[in-house]
Subunit: 331 residues, 2 copies
């Protein structure tokens, strides 16, 4: 470890905001040498991590997520918490930046000295964005933030990667008009530990109440993610400020439920190991795709398989053989 | 292609049952040389595949799957179909065989000349079982079977792999007593294209009807897997023989819905390409795990990550470096 990294680690654990920002920039670097420094920094502060409540917040488009996070975050800092807000948005471009984690949309939190907001890392693969966000979350914890909120919108598999890096996954949606919720992707309902129906005010109040009733009913038809936890469904109005405290109460109740019996440690351990494997799998596949011998055959192989002219097994074996991997007997 | 493979292919396409059984045994082999022959056979018959309705049937324990498949299959052969029944059961052992695809539990179908029942391939990894089952399905199609039913029970990810190799995924469950269905794993409800509540007879009839009503209601709260398809929920009694025809009517309606607009071809093409990538990914990860340099470090690395002593990124990089994969700049 260079002297620089040790110093960076010291200041980070001291809670210095500028150091936190610099450190996150470091882990976001795509250069191999910077990433080695980032890895050294993370190793140095690892013992100081783990001390936050990690909450994922997935907001469907139109759900009012920025207003909700601004409201929730402000209440948390008002009661003495230090709140970090990160984001996973694989659609963000380097030059444009992400809409999420956009300080102009979280007006109070952006000015709050006990809060720290960081836009999503830019572009690349979802796996790359996920890695950088996990690492940023660790850095925030090392710097003393005791609540880490990780936002996402419904892009591709981004909800799944966020669910894999948090303790509690909160789904935020607006009423659709009937009793359905707007824009919930298939599979996302079952990721949620808490469901929040926003915009329970004005004209939408009756629809919000219907949606809450229906989703409470549906929630008990499903086997829970965690034994003994029935997913609560709450109505809030981020605009009017109602129901927000109740959401946090549910998050805390969930954390306590998980902690009871060692479930939180188990969850975080499993997430860490899964992350290790995800990293290795991604790099192996990446090296395979970049292999010149594979790359020049890949498009044709895919087209032939897609058209039913080539069996997937044969295609796979030919590409692997080109990469130097011979067939072997299975166990 | 050896003369043997060409002859095998000819007899298979002719519809010879013994050849089909021999061919499936060939694709189930773990020997690298036999698998090369199997691949050659599949390539030879590939143009003769694709001509069946592929239906996955996932039955939770106690759902009465064998009786249901026996009843459904018998009605299909009585109306002129040729029905193959395969199974994905990763828990089956080489010596013991699988409970599923057990001919003693499907009495009529086991004696039916227009039906072909094959137990799940044994043991190994779920990916290996999945590959063999897909290939067996192709062989059945080449041999002229126009309905292929692939059973699974709720073991690990077996429902997901079956959903990835069929057109229509049918979830079969028994009533729980309230309005819930017994034993539905999280995530499985959203895989289903058709939900069948079995045992709608005798004492369980009221519970079955409640379960149907509730799941119909819940089904429309979710965004469908396929645009325009609301998951139908039906009550049946495989024992009394009621509701079975209606299930097949729904399967046919689903196929027609998919076919309309080219959705079926698209689905099968995507499945084939995904299969190719799954094969490559599994082999790459397998070669990595077997690398002596990785194997001797892996257990310690996992334990350290699990205990929070080593960051997942650092652990991944160390193991990849041991495998010979250097860090590189990202895009």
């Amino acid at each position: 470890m260079t002297v620089d990294t040790a110093e960076l680690a010291r200041r980070l654990i001291d809670g210095d905001r500028r150091t936190l920002a610099r450190s996150i920039t470091l882990v976001e670097s795509t250069r191999a040498d910077r990433r080695a420094e980032a890895a050294a920094l993370l190793d140095a502060v690892l013992p100081a991590t783990g001390g936050s409540v990690r909450v994922g917040i997935s907001g469907t488009p139109g759900a009012g997520k920025s207003t909700f996070v601004d409201e929730l975050g402000s209440r948390l800092t008002a009661t003495g918490h230090r709140v970090a807000v990160l984001a996973v948005d694989p659609s963000s471009r380097r030059s444009g930046g992400s809409i999420m984690g956009d300080k102009t949309r979280m007006e109070r939190l952006a000015r709050d000295p006990a809060a720290f907001i960081r836009p999503s890392p830019s572009g690349g693969t979802l796996g790359g964005v996920a890695r950088r966000t996990r690492e940023a979350a660790f850095l925030c914890e090392a710097a003393g933030f005791d609540v880490v909120l990780i936002e996402t919108v419904g892009v591709g598999q981004s909800e799944t990667v966020v669910a894999d890096m948090v303790d509690c996954f909160v789904l935020l949606a607006a009423p659709g008009g009937g009793d359905e919720l707007q824009g919930i992707k298939r599979g996302i309902m079952e990721l949620a530990d808490v469901i929040v129906v926003n915009k329970a005010d004005g004209d939408l109040l009756p629809a919000a109440q219907r949606a809450v009733a229906d989703h409470r009913h549906a929630a008990h038809l499903m086997r829970p993610k965690h034994p003994g936890w029935t997913v609560p469904v709450l109505a809030v109005s981020a605009l009017e400020g109602t129901g927000i405290d109740e959401v946090w109460t549910e998050v805390e109740r969930f954390e306590a439920h998980l902690r009871d019996g060692g479930g939180l440690d188990r969850l975080r351990s499993e997430q860490a190991v899964a992350w290790m494997w995800a990293e290795m799998q991604e790099r192996l596949l990446d090296a395979f795709r970049r292999d010149e011998r594979v790359a020049k055959r890949l498009a044709d192989a895919e087209a032939a398989v897609r058209a039913g002219r080539l069996s997937p097994t044969t295609a796979a074996h030919e590409l692997l053989a080109a990469h130097g991997l011979a067939d072997r007997d299975e166990d």
